[in-house]
């Protein structure tokens, strides 16, 4: 089939550049904007983390580490979600996403930061001899369940695996980001094909690393527990939460008078549909996992769940069922909500809160287990959790804000940009 000539494509790019929606002040933020906000967010983040350290001394280190882990797992899920969507959109030759892809890529480029945050988590675990990762503790060394899986759950191999996850994520994110940024400069449309190929093997590498990361950094906190769905369960938090952040980011840019005619309500509609759909996917996976454990009713699986259905944690589980699935499902089913930038972003913000609740429900019950001998200080200690989660979130958001302000808000020369500019939902 005919390709169009380079010359004809150049003309198309020139016309695209002359498109009123592509005017410079529509697709870039003014120099120096958002720096104050970014600085404030990063400052807030550092302050939150310092408070978390203080919390470790006021209460106990385990509590602080768990709260920090909740935050890290949340922002990692969002960043992985962005990597996932970028690759899926490349893989499927999507047209409509061209105008939102740069923001996805910006979120995705927070993965190196996440890797750093995870590294801190890992170092603390290794140094403390397993505050949360109970399998590191000497008192379980002779547990038959642990010796059976010792060749997986051991410190050197965990470090090796961490480097594999970190390497794969950083490589994929930077590679895809570079393709996109290079295209802004050179206008080489065949970079899309290279990004597509990277995404093909990238999705495979992504699935394996995300799955095993979830095993190693969440499931293995209780080494007795196992679930084949676990990797999918953690993955399922990424796509919807990333769409939530994307809706908020594009909404804020539009409030600044940017992206007029570039990211319109048609795009909002589609992002909100994906937010809705992937949130239902999360519910499907979460229900499937819970249901099979409940129905099978064998102690080695149910012990983990039973512990999260008592001592107040059952309330959080109910919040998840209602707040993470039922209410957003009923609200996001409505077309006007999905097409309203502010409402869709608000729904996204709510689901981000639910993401935190979900990770909290997974990790935090690990702290004051009967075996730990620690006594829960009660709800008064919640400020540590708040400080850690908000701290990590603000740090992450500040770094994101800086990157957003530093360059064009959309890929300027993507060959599918005309399609995205003209995107519409007819029905």
């Amino acid at each position: 089939m005919s390709q169009i000539t380079g010359e004809a494509y150049q003309r198309r790019l020139e016309r695209l550049a002359a498109h009123p929606a592509m005017a410079n002040d529509n697709v870039t933020l003014p120099k120096g904007s958002w720096t104050g906000a970014a600085r404030a967010l990063i400052g807030l983040g550092v302050a939150g983390l310092l408070m978390t350290v203080a919390g470790a001394f006021v209460y106990n280190a385990k509590h602080a580490v768990a709260s920090y882990s909740v935050g890290v797992l949340c922002v990692t899920a969002i960043s992985l979600g962005a990597l996932f969507w970028t690759m899926v959109f490349h893989q499927t030759n999507a047209g409509w996403h061209a105008t939102i892809r740069r923001q996805l890529e910006n979120i995705m480029m927070n993965l190196p930061l996440c890797v750093g945050l995870i590294a801190v988590m890992l170092i603390v675990e290794l140094a403390s001899g397993g505050l949360l990762f109970s399998w590191m503790r000497p008192e379980y060394a002779d547990s038959p369940l642990l010796t059976a899986k010792r060749s997986w759950l051991n410190e050197p191999f965990l470090v090796v695996r961490f480097f594999i996850y970190a390497g794969v994520w950083t490589l994929l994110a930077t590679k895809l980001y570079r393709f996109s940024v290079d295209q802004d400069r050179t206008g080489d449309r065949f970079l899309n094909n290279r990004a597509r190929f990277t995404s093909a093997w990238g999705l495979l590498a992504f699935a394996l690393t995300t799955g095993f990361f979830a095993f190693d950094f969440i499931m293995a906190m209780d080494f007795r527990f196992f679930s084949t769905m676990w990797g999918v369960y953690y993955f399922a938090s990424g796509p919807f939460s990333c769409m939530a952040v994307l809706l908020i980011v594009t909404g804020m840019l539009r409030l600044r008078g940017r992206l007029t005619g570039v990211v319109g309500n048609e795009h909002v509609h589609d992002m909100a549909k994906l937010l809705f759909g992937m949130n239902v996917f999360w519910a499907y996976i979460a229900f499937g996992q819970y249901f099979l454990i409940w129905y099978g009713n064998i102690p080695e699986e149910t012990a983990w769940v039973v512990y999260r259905k008592q001592g107040g944690w059952e309330n959080l589980a109910a919040v998840l069922a209602i707040g993470h699935f039922l209410i957003p499902f009923l609200i996001l089913l409505l077309r006007p909500v999905k097409r309203h930038p502010a409402l869709a972003a608000a729904a996204g913000a709510w689901l981000l809160l639910m993401l935190v609740m979900d990770m909290f429900w997974l990790v935090r019950p690990m702290v004051y287990t009967p075996a730990s001998g620690l006594k829960s200080p009660g709800p008064g200690a919640m400020w540590v959790d708040l400080a850690a989660i908000v701290g990590v979130g603000c740090l992450w958001a500040g770094v994101l804000a800086r990157r957003i302000a530093s360059g064009p808000l959309i890929p300027l020369k993507d060959p599918r940009l005309p399609e995205a500019l003209d995107h519409r939902n007819y029905v």
């Binding site: 169009i4 003309r11 003209d422």
Partner: protein
């Protein structure tokens, strides 16, 4: 400006400016385009609306060729053998199958899950790909939906006949009765009844509703021919009389009015929305049949999405298995089902194949990681290790390795562009995948059951000829129905195919011929979008360029 003249392509072709049917290169039919700036055509050879109608209605109005009748008779005979076997089973009892006390589910449930899985591709194409606005689905949706229904028919046979006393099958429905025998609502087998019957109902509705405009076209064409025949005094009127009557009934008064179309599009979207969770729920519930039981190899949490991915995988393989030969057997079929379509489906095979591969490895890893010796044994030894390698190995190792080879290894050839653009290679892989997916269910069901907790319960399963002929019979039923569909109904969704033709675009379309001819090109949308879009309309110099 060419964009304002939707008939330009047709008029140019009629005037001989653009050739209507250029010589085709079998390896590149014009749909394989790696330029990200150009969307390849979804229908080849610049077909006009009228030609699309003529070609697609033509399939339903004429005998496809000499191959059809012998093939139909063969398929119908095999179906007849299958029906005979089922009757023999009902008269004699399930003892005619190779089941035994330990392996009380074998080929029957394997075949059930196999067929119900085949159906999923149809719903995925018609519902999920519709929601994702994947326009290429128009080439395959109608036949895939038909296939869904035929596969569900085949699937429904097995649970019904495996109960033994089929005259009590009504007990699966929660009908009040005097003996107070109520179904167990906690049994996933009962949920199966609801899930599969809902799925069948919605699939039929979806298929039928989507077909109404096309049936009306067939009705109108038969009617027109009939009137001409009456006017000319021709004798041979009966076939068209039957068509006008049957299609007239089935098209429910469709008059192609814009109001009809509006309702149709809304209804289509609603059905797509309803069907999407159905695709997930049906096979999730089928997976619950196994996963809720505490049997090593059955009870694992990844089963629901793993079964759904496997169903889509097997379903797409079946779509390819049927449509690649159809491409060769029907004239002009390749204009609608291009190599690009095949390539897309090959990619889906690769993706879903790796999803099931992911699930296999997760099962395997967690079986080891759990430290549970029964779980470990079920995977590491019962499935994987050949009995001649270790005395802890199992006799069904070959079934597991057949599954891995067919489902995980064989689709890997689609990493190569050459392979996913070669219909023959795709067909071979599709065949292997179909075999592999049958074996997947066999491995899950029989391998897990044949080694129970106590060695005293260990048994082998050997299929009897009745087992085999019943399965062959369902293949016959499936093929018979599909051949009838090919012969009498519109194989492509005509109205939807027309909607993806370039001349259907209200704002004109990229005309890349012009680029090649050295004219200035005009990018889609950016140059001539709709006025409703804030930045849609191109600046005025755009228009001067043409």
């Amino acid at each position: 400006m060419s964009a304002t003249n939707p008939d330009r392509i047709i008029s140019e072709r009629l005037a001989g400016i653009v050739s209507g049917a250029p010589a085709r290169d079998p390896r590149d039919d014009g749909s394989l385009n790696d330029d990200p700036a150009v969307r390849p055509p979804l229908v080849l050879n610049n077909r006009s609306f009228g030609e699309v109608t003529d070609i697609i209605c033509g399939y339903a109005e004429h005998t496809p060729g000499k191959w059809w009748l012998p093939m139909f008779l063969l398929a119908a005979s095999v179906a007849g053998i299958g029906v005979t076997m089922i009757l023999y089973l009902i008269i004699t009892g399930v003892g005619v199958w190779g089941l035994n006390n330990q392996i009380n589910w074998a080929w029957d449930i394997t075949n059930f899950v196999f067929w119900i899985g085949i159906g999923h591709a149809g719903t995925l194409i018609s519902a999920i790909l519709c929601i994702f606005k994947q326009k290429w689905r128009t080439a395959v949706n109608r036949s895939a939906e038909a296939m869904t229904i035929f596969a569900v028919i085949c699937a429904g046979i097995f649970p019904a006949i495996h109960v033994g006393r089929i005259w009590f099958i009504w007990m699966v429905f929660p009908i009040p009765n005097y003996n107070s025998i109520w179904p167990n609502f906690r049994s996933p087998l009962l949920w199966d009844v609801f899930a599969v019957s809902t799925y069948a109902t919605v699939s039929v509705l979806f298929w039928y509703m989507g077909m109404i405009p096309d049936l009306a076209s067939l009705r109108d064409r038969a009617d027109r021919r009939l009137r001409r025949a009456v006017a000319a005094g021709a004798k041979k009127r009966l076939p068209d009389l039957i068509r006008a009557y049957v299609f007239g009934l089935l098209s429910m008064g469709w008059r192609f009015s814009s109001r009809h179309w509006h309702r149709y599009e809304v209804a289509y979207l609603i059905l797509a929305g309803v069907s999407t969770p159905l695709v997930l729920s049906v096979h999730s519930i089928v997976s619950f049949d196994f996963a809720t039981s505490v049997v090593p190899g059955w009870h694992t949490t990844i089963f629901p999405p793993y079964f759904v991915a496997g169903a889509i995988f097997g379903g797409f393989a079946m779509v390819l298995l049927l449509l690649i030969p159809a491409r060769e057997l029907f004239s002009n079929f390749k204009d609608f089902l291009t190599l690009r379509h095949l390539e897309n489906m090959a990619k889906i095979i690769l993706v879903t194949g790796m999803m099931v591969g992911f699930a296999y490895s997760m099962e395997f890893f967690i079986a080891w990681y759990s430290g549970n010796e029964y779980e470990r044994d079920a995977f590491l030894f019962n499935r994987v290790t050949p009995i001649w390698l270790s005395d802890r190995g199992a006799p069904y190792w070959w079934a597991y390795w057949t599954m891995i080879t067919c489902n995980v290894l064989s689709p890997q050839v689609f990493w190569f562009k050459k392979m996913r653009r070669d219909p023959r290679a795709i067909w071979v892989v599709a065949l292997l995948v179909t075999i592999g997916m049958w074996f997947e269910r066999f491995v899950i069901i029989v391998t897990s059951l044949h080694r129970a907790w106590l060695p005293g319960e260990w048994h082998m399963f050997f299929p009897t000829p009745v087992d085999m002929l019943t399965f062959a019979g369902t293949c016959g039923i499936f093929l018979t129905l599909f051949l009838l569909f090919l012969r009498f109904l519109p194989v492509f969704a005509m109205a939807e195919v027309k909607a993806v033709l370039p001349q259907a675009s209200p704002h004109g379309h990229d005309d890349h011929d012009h680029d090649d001819h050295g004219h200035a090109d005009h990018g889609h949308g950016a140059a001539h979008g709709s006025g409703a879009h804030p930045g849609g309309h191109g600046p005025s110099h755009e228009k001067e360029a043409h």
